[in-house]
């Protein structure tokens, strides 16, 4: 897509095509001759895995949509009809439902990979921003999708999330009403969520194209964070990266298949096997696991509007990371201090996820004497972790780049591969 092309049409027919619509050239340059750093490790296979996940969601989703009915009286039964009567309907539905989880596992690996190796840094800012945009669209798609089967958690999850908008001063309530298409969640809501759930994955496809385009302009980052210095640092995408990506996908599919076939409900909530009942609030409303860290941040703030703002900021901060990081060096391999904080931040994110799944007043431990001490609850922990989440990006990112003394960088990728610099 950029740089000069190495494609050579081999016969008259391909020459004819190439001078009219150089589509074969495009595929060749992007997927065959495209130079990739030769030292990429398996954390780099998750980009291909994500593309696979998106494809799986779209294909299973389109077939599910042929049988699904977006009407509150019939939605739950139509999904059960898919599970019981449609040929291999249970497979489609379990692949789609677990596929969403797998998609998020892959995207989180992919994003933390970027954070570790500094892939968001210049000249890859737009590439990173497009990635964050994909992530946001994924969360929206998954949220809409989760409402469709019209189980208890579908309904109550949607209620909690759409109610967040009512925290906005003055216009909040009108926004909620507008989103619902009425004064409560009902048929109009379900219908529009279905429409948007069908649309958003295709928006993702569009952004993925831009993401890959940007990738092919800047080239991939690599574990050393040192840009390739010529042909000896790179290998052609095919067969080198294609082979590794294929192995990565196959291994990932083993995990995927384990959930689909042997533990299809393991990542979900039992309450969603019960039909939505607006009169019966479940004892414990929780979103799907991949949204839990944000849910924890939301609940950590005593004020509703404050919680909503902080939650959205937790995502928004990702967009500006390239400018918060002042380090000259990309890869955490050569950043001894950042490396420690990277792992701490990962643990904090998992900890926030844990907090999001618990009841807020659950007592973790009691501090002080039996009579006068205080109970340290999930809310307290969530506050500390939320604080660190922002501290990490807003304070540490700019600061570390200034105070940290990076280890010496290898001369080039091939020098590091040959072991002249320790990796």
């Amino acid at each position: 897509m950029s740089g000069h092309s190495t494609y050579k049409p081999s016969n008259g027919f391909t020459k004819w095509i190439d001078s009219r619509l150089p589509i074969v050239r495009l595929v060749h340059d992007a997927g065959v001759s495209y130079p990739t750093p030769k030292n990429l490790n398996y954390w780099w296979t998750f980009g291909g895995i994500l593309t696979l996940c998106l494809g799986i969601q779209i294909i299973t989703g389109i077939v599910l949509a042929m049988h699904y009915i977006p009407q509150t009286d019939l939605a739950f039964a139509s999904v059960e009809h898919i599970m019981r009567d449609v040929n291999y309907g249970w497979l489609l539905r379990y692949v789609h439902a677990n596929g969403a989880s797998m998609f998020f596992i892959a995207v989180y690996v992919h994003m933390f990979r970027g954070l570790y190796y500094g892939s968001y840094k210049a000249p890859r800012e737009i590439l990173w921003i497009l990635g964050v945009l994909i992530y946001v669209l994924m969360m929206a798609s998954a949220f809409f999708g989760y409402v469709l089967p019209w189980g208890q958690m579908s309904f109550w999850g949607a209620t909690v999330i759409t109610n967040l908008f009512s925290a906005i001063p003055v216009v909040g309530q009108s926004i909620s009403t507008w989103l619902w298409g009425g004064y409560a969640i009902g048929d109009p809501t379900l219908n529009r969520f279905f429409s948007l759930h069908y649309l958003f994955p295709f928006l993702i496809v569009g952004v993925v194209v831009l993401h890959i385009w940007a990738l092919h302009v800047t080239g991939q980052n690599n574990p050393t964070g040192v840009e390739p210095k010529g042909d000896k640092d790179t290998v052609p995408f095919t067969p080198y990266a294609t082979a590794k990506d294929a192995l990565g996908m196959s291994l990932f599919l083993i995990l995927f298949a384990y959930f689909v076939f042997f533990n299809p409900l393991g990542l979900g909530d039992v309450a969603n096997s019960e039909i939505a009942n607006p009169l019966k609030t479940p004892p414990h409303i929780v979103p799907e696991w991949y949204l839990l860290p944000f849910y924890a941040i939301l609940r950590a703030v005593p004020d509703k509007l404050g919680g909503v703002l902080l939650m959205f900021s937790a995502i928004a901060v990702l967009f500006v990371l390239p400018w918060l990081d002042t380090s000259k060096v990309r890869s955490a391999r050569f950043r001894p201090i950042y490396k420690q904080f990277f792992w701490l931040h990962l643990i904090v994110c998992i900890g926030l996820g844990w907090c999001g799944a618990q009841t807020p007043d659950l007592v973790i431990t009691h501090v002080g004497s039996a009579e006068s001490g205080i109970n340290f609850t999930v809310t307290h922990l969530a506050r500390i972790l939320s604080f660190y989440y922002f501290f990490h990006f807003i304070i540490l990112f700019p600061l570390l780049g200034l105070i940290e003394k990076p280890k010496p960088l290898p001369e080039s990728i091939s020098a590091s591969v040959l072991g002249t610099a320790k990796s």
Binding site: K38, N41, Y42, W43, A77, E80, M83, R84, W90, L91, Y94, I105, V109, V235, P239, Y240, A243, K244, A246, L247, G248, S250, L251, F252, L253, I254, L255, A257, Y258, F259, V260, F261, F262, N263, P264, L265, G266, L267, D269, V270, A271, S273, E274, P283, H284, V286, W289, G353, W354, A357, Q358, T359, G419
Partner: protein
Amino acid sequence: MKMTMIQKLAPFAAVAALTLGVAFSSAPAQAEGGENPGLKHVAWSFDGPFGTYDRSELRRGYKVYKEVCSTCHSMNLVHFRNLSEKGGPEFSEAEVKALAAGYQVQDGPNEQGEMFERPGKQSDPFPAPYPNEEAARAALGGAYPPDMSLLVKAREGGASYIYSILTGYTTPPAGAEAVPAGLHYNAAFPGNHIAMPQPLNEGQVDYDDGTPNTLDQEAKDVSAFLAWASEPKLEQRHRLGFQVMVFLIVLSGLLYTVVRKVWSDQH
């Protein structure tokens, strides 16, 4: 130090370990206050990756459901024809026809525009004991017996939870809250006060296959039947899953050798 190929694949082990950790820790964590203390874990024939239903258990379970539970609980998503399908109780078609014909169901309108009663057919869903929720509540002192089609999937603990409820009617422990009138003490029910009177007793259902009809046996059988009703495609899923796993493992092995071959000129 050079990493071996297997070490390089460690990312996948790490991702799998983390995901499985989340999957196994989240279920009890989500149930308020941890795991239900009244839950008795039963080893089911359908547990595990090779699990299958026990046909005779499902047939006995159907009998318990039909004679006892179906007088209060509906099971709207299950049809008579499901009873003869593979992977279930696998009654013969003739048996299922006869079972269905034992019920009168409403159909119509006919050419005169009137609704009429006819004997049940295989394609009919299980008839519900009450026409609607209000009727059920009116008849049962305000309590509503939940539909049983998905009950096993909709409760933490699954079939073991159903079994625990059925065998969980005990005298309240000393110091427990007084049980309000119309409710019953049950060790497995959240809050311990359940509106359903003990539905099953020792010797209540006569089994056709001569199995001793202890409470424990009846409770297990009907719980297994409800598990099948919730997840009728489990056997098909396990079988296909095994084939897919074998395929993916062989494929990964082949791809592993391909990667080694392709990269052999690079190290």
